[in-house]
Symmetry: C2
Subunit: 552 residues, 2 copies
């Protein structure tokens, strides 16, 4: 906690000042603010690349559990922030940060987000949001049209219709997925005869009413973990989230899916929803969305597409056909804080049927009154900020063509990087980029040759050691802080379905250059030479009975 | 949508610029940004008080459903934003905006929130948040200590323990309440014997395992509507959210509560949780938290306290005793974007037992790995921004004593305003302020006298007309845009429990003066003179058989 020699005083005047007097440009905070305005990239480069400091050590700076009694000067606090927080945060906007889905932001997002904070609107009700309400409706309408392609008349009728909502704006894809399945569950178990619906009577009576033993959600093994949370929260149970096998390209295996459906049917469990994925989190692949639509239609169940990552691909004339069939989904999740380049905290779920959200509608006496324009009557969250403004800004300023260029270049950059890896003797490409995400690992040519020839047990042992190499290298690279890739575990067909640890890269930052990507590989090669990894590679050598140690 | 004569061009260079070149201080956006820096209050006053413009008309500005093909210059977009959005948003920071829980923000929140946006951390995992992770843990620890008052050893052990979390940071009170009841549900229906727990097997099998017909959540009629959403989402059913009667002070009636418990028991429905309220949304009252704790203990059920509004009162030495008993709750919701004066999008739920959140723990292969420090394994949301930084800043800069002053002054201001209303011949105080929220209505002394003497049917008729007066006046005041109060419906004991429409005020803005409050009443008196209200008051007159029309 920051301390200053001069003591900040608690007084009405000082409190009043806090709410009315802006930070002087000469104050520490004013200077930082100015530095960010002037040169964000420079500021981040100089100050934000995390130093090689252990997290346990960082935790010491945040060990005080008492709320400070006395106030602190803003300048003293800002010094603390700069030294202990900003310098120890992750430079997510760095072109070398290619491990997760958080990327650089367009510059205009900074002053615009300050306007957003200054206005501090609350979108739950029109009384605290006014123009923000129709603006959010428009953003939902634009995304709806991007996915479903309704005509002008459709949007003229529904987009600003206060009794309905084309979707729900929310803090992110997880809430979006939960909202989609919540609405699907409530529609399937809606009021009928003397049954007043699951919203009123709960899951137990709903299943009695439907005369079945459970509801199931089916998605490929590559499904996002938020679907597990949804199954848990909604009372469906994680065991009823069926993880369906995939083909070698990480797309749901339709035959396996049909077998599961038949089994569930025999067990008296009703399919609530099929979930297709447009851009799997780990490998960026797209399920056969049209085939899934056919099956959902056949089963008469809800069809949700999780396009949190890949949805923005619809903005590209070149690649939008990869998502063919998405327009047949009953609901679609899209994250704006991913490939729409909006700051963290902006997700959406869109519903094909403009009346679908009626299944989760709710009202209260002081807001969300029936017939009000309040958006809060159709969202899981209550009070929420006007983040839709930043999506509106992105769509307007960058335009469809601008996004198209960003999407196209990301995919093409990913393809070039994949070829670079394939051509490199020390690396193995694990999954091909279909969008802009793929996986690979450090695996020198001689080990690859051994693996190809080794009997199953030996191959498994080699893979175990390579897993350690991958994990060690990923952690070391993260700590060094120049570049960053993430890691995950996959079960590629070529290793007979056994799970291996791999590097995962996400090519979303438009500032990432091919040269920088080459340096990522160089850094990893250097790491392979470190003792910790040499020891591991020597173990493989010993296992294979090779005499000389050789890294490439 | 904004248009500019010169056309913005789609090119790689322009896109690159968007991500790397800051807005020039001379650009429109640069100037607005500067104007906000220089004088937020002035900027808001000049530009943000909503003009008397119909919402339907505003909607016309947001009627285009196609995503613009071509890019737009930032300056052109900013002009659009200024004219169509900023000028038509709600001036929530205005001292005259006393109708909802959104208030003024301390100035330092603006530059700090820009730093937050620039850093764009993602708190779901430490790889995208680093120092933000221990900082958020510290904020949760500080709030935990404020509520539960553990000792240093407790927080040294638990606060930074990566396997657990003292609470969950989230976008707001609704998600906090859902998280609390989710954890409670999963603990009650945890794994036992061959039952693998509700998280795995779902609600249907959980109830079979518990051998009961349903789970119930009990809360007073003043409970927040998010609890209804929670009951719906969690598969409990809204009918099993039992709305218990209150006493004349809007506190849960313990006798009635016990009767409900007995009835549920007879029906084979198990109480999942009692919910106490510390600061009801509509009237700001506090349930008897200690008595509720006794009953929850007796029943062996979860005890949650929704202190979204009132939790900050614990920072006041003067008033914290009002919340006595909150320290016995199993979980507590507190919103930082309410009385901690943080921008929209910051809520928390704290759990007494540091292992309680294990009931909703989840993992994935690429993040949230077991043993990782990732906060995302204990939250309903996935990716989320580092809003905890702003709470940390508020607690550090304002300090406990500063918040105490804000809280105390708010409550005292509410009391003074209530006395002012009571003394005014044209108004009727409906609920007394216990914290800083209360309700009243326009009801001239002569009507009050008639009401007191009138038979039930006539009184009901008079109240119906007064409801129209209140609604008309509230809408008119909102449209005029000088000051703003909200409205709700309550059933005060003095009117034999029939529901009436009332004005609701929230005294949270430290810049609201007594003089301004007097002007709110003056404005309302002027409105009473308008034809629309005169007609209504004459109806009352006719009903009561009075000859002359008189407003005071």
């Amino acid at each position: 906690m920051p301390r200053s020699r001069e003591r900040a005083q608690v007084s009405l005047e000082n409190l009043h000042r806090i709410f009315t007097v802006p930070e002087s440009p000469d104050s520490t905070l004013g200077r930082i603010d100015q530095a960010i305005s002037d040169n964000l990239a420079g500021f981040l480069q100089e100050h934000i690349v995390a130093l090689e400091r252990d997290l346990a050590e960082i935790e010491d700076d945040f060990s005080q559990s008492r709320i400070p009694e006395e106030p602190t000067f803003v300048s003293a606090y800002t010094d603390f922030l700069k030294e202990k927080v900003v310098s120890q945060s992750v430079h997510t906007a760095s072109p070398g940060f290619i491990g997760h889905m958080t990327s650089a932001l367009p510059y205009f997002m900074l002053p615009l987000s300050r306007i957003l904070t200054a206005l501090n609107q609350n979108l739950v009700k029109v009384e605290t949001s006014r123009a923000f309400t129709p603006m959010e409706r428009q953003v939902l309408g634009m995304l709806h049209r991007l996915i479903y392609g309704g005509d002008d008349a459709f949007y003229a009728q529904w987009m600003q219709d206060s009794r309905h909502a084309l979707g729900a704006f929310c803090s992110g894809g997880t809430i979006a997925n939960i909202t989609a399945l919540w609405a699907a569950r409530n529609r399937l178990c809606g009021p009928a005869g003397s049954f007043r619906g699951i919203a009123q009577e709960g899951m137990f009576k709903a299943l009695q009413h439907l005369d079945c033993k459970g509801l199931a959600v089916l998605v490929s093994r590559r499904g996002h973990y938020s679907l597990g949370k949804a199954a848990d929260v909604l009372g469906i149970g994680r065991e009823n989230l069926i993880a369906v096998d995939t083909d070698d390209d990480n797309r749901v295996d339709m035959k396996s899916l049909r077998r599961h459906c038949a089994r569930l049917n025999a067990e008296g469990i009703r399919p609530l929803s099929l979930v297709g994925i447009a851009g799997t989190t780990e490998t960026g692949n797209i399920d056969p969305l049209d085939e899934l639509a056919d099956l959902a239609q056949e089963l008469g169940c809800h069809y949700h597409v999780d396009a949190a990552w890949g949805g923005a691909t619809l903005l590209s004339g070149t690649y939008r056909s990869l998502l063919k069939g998405i327009e047949r989904a009953d609901s679609v999740t899209v994250d704006a804080h991913k490939q729409l380049y909006v700051p963290m905290g902006a997700g959406m779920v869109l519903f094909k049927d403009p009346t679908a959200l009626a299944a989760i509608e709710h009202h209260a006496a002081y807001i969300l009154r029936e017939g009000s324009r309040d958006l809060g009557s159709h969202t899981l969250e209550g009070s929420r900020p006007g983040m839709a403004m930043l999506v509106h800004a992105g769509l307007s300023i960058i335009g469809r063509k601008g996004y198209e260029m960003l999407i196209d270049h990301g995919i093409e950059r990913a393809c070039r990087f994949a070829r670079q890896i394939e051509a490199h003797p020390d690396f193995e490409l694990i999954t091909e980029p279909e969008l802009n995400i793929f996986t690979y690992r450090y695996n020198p040519a001689w080990v690859q040759a051994q693996l190809a020839a080794a009997p199953a047990e030996q191959a498994a042992r080699i893979n175990e050691i390579l897993d350690k190499v991958t994990e060690t290298m990923q952690k070391r690279q993260r700590e060094t802080g120049r570049t960053f890739v993430s890691r995950t575990r996959l079960a590629p067909g070529r290793y007979r379905g056994s799970r291996i640890t791999v590097f995962r890269v996400v090519m979303a930052n438009p500032l990432t250059t091919d040269a920088l990507l080459a340096s990522v590989l160089e850094e990893q090669c250097e790491m392979a030479e470190r003792d910790e990894n040499r020891v591991l590679l020597e173990q493989i050598e010993a296992l294979c009975g090779r005499r000389e140690f050789k890294t490439a």
